[in-house]
Symmetry: C2
Subunit: 226 residues, 2 copies
DNA sequence: TGCTGTGAAACCCTTCACAGCC
DNA sequence: GGCTGTGAAGGGTTTCACAGCA
């Protein structure tokens, strides 16, 4: 449906948030210039890869000198669209949902928690992280009234599909899912999944391999979920 | 304990935990057989990819019929090494650490929370998720005494490096890091990072492409890389 | 017939090596 | 000299298409 002209390689896009974190920290430390070598070291990547990534964003480097840190911060912020604040609803006020509601990383990155909802009436009215838990049945109203564009799903695996359907029906098209399942959503809805169970089991596997002596450290495979 | 184990492709390994989740659920629902098409649908992947993945584990499928669900569950469990319990220490008893300490996904997947530590003396002695918060300075002793092999880092970004060094010094070689930074660890130490900030910003980017880009149309940097 | 198992092609990403500019 | 920008090479992953078997 959407005219998806992929300007940037997916792998580059996936790294942009980390560039932004590093470059922002550099800017706050007063660094005005950085070379690809140093950036690569901080990112844990190859310098050529860094140069390819940054070149794809446009010419912000000077040969023989390095990259203009403030310019890159501005450019990446622009590309990622972090300039605009986004209203977020956290669905599920269990342990994880409560933690996320209190997580200061959200507001610091332009994500305003506009609502925390739960399907359990017993939880409605309680407070988590300064937010009053509201009834999940009122989702559609909340989304419309507060301009919510992102939903964070922190519900049990068995409820994930149901919750996804509810937020999509309410008009949300960006989902961050903390659950093991693949969510079946309509075209036009974007889902990113953070699967703690999978990460743990992957660790378990990689740990089993540690007994084998190896000359170089096996890099963890990227878990870029589809 | 495995007949003959060849090296599995990293991409396959990264998917195994999700296969295991799906297949376990199928087994509990009484399904004895599943076809690659159906498995692919639930995984959100291609059927050929599923067949390649499963073929790499050995012959557990029957042509014209499908795959033996219980056999696959057993095989993947074996490969991932989830049979053994692993003792985990959670480092950082803030919002996220507390949530993880209460997260029932850990015990259900063979990860026993053996300790929760924090560097803040004010927090020591309090309880989270049934675990008493202990002093982070005693890490080395705890790790040795309780056979801890996995550390979950849930500390602020500014403390991540410090915390990583501490757990590695204590003898832990498997780290699950909830933080934005790249951790510099010695060879032989495996780190998996779950970066909530990055996920959010990625969502932000993907969402920006769904709506009308505000002022600045994608200025078409030649994507012809390589 | 139906579905698995698998060569082969296509694709993507990373890394190297070096040309180009300051 | 130093560092960016980029063709080319190399390696891995996905997808197709079909052979092989119950």
């Amino acid at each position: 449906m959407s005219p998806r002209e992929r300007v940037l390689p997916a792998a580059t896009v996936a790294r942009l948030p980390r560039y932004l974190e590093i470059l922002t920290a550099l800017a706050e430390d007063g660094h005005a210039i950085i070379a690809s070598d140093e950036l690569a070291r901080r990112l844990g990547a190859n310098a050529a890869s860094v140069r390819k990534d940054l070149a794809a964003l446009g010419p912000h480097g000077t040969r023989g000198v390095g990259y203009d840190v403030p310019a890159l911060v501005a450019r990446i912020s622009d590309v990622l669209g972090v300039a605009d604040e986004r209203a977020v609803v956290i669905v599920g006020a269990g342990n994880l949902g409560s933690a996320l509601a209190s997580y200061d990383g959200f507001p610091r990155r332009g994500f305003v928690i506009a609502a925390v909802v739960d399907a359990d009436p017993a939880k409605v009215g309680r407070e988590v992280g300064g937010h009053r838990i509201e009834d999940a049945r009122g989702l559609a109203t909340l989304v419309a009234a507060r301009g919510i564009s992102v939903a964070v799903l922190a519900v049990p695996a068995s409820r994930a599909d149901e919750a996804a359907r509810a937020v999509v029906d309410a008009g949300v098209r960006l989902l961050l899912n903390f659950g093991p399942a693949h969510l079946d959503v309509p075209a036009g809805v974007v889902v990113r999944s953070v699967d703690l169970s999978s990460e743990l089991r992957l660790l378990s596997f990689l740990g089993g391999r540690l007994d084998v002596p190896s000359d170089d450290a096996p890099d963890a495979p990227d878990a870029a979920a589809g």
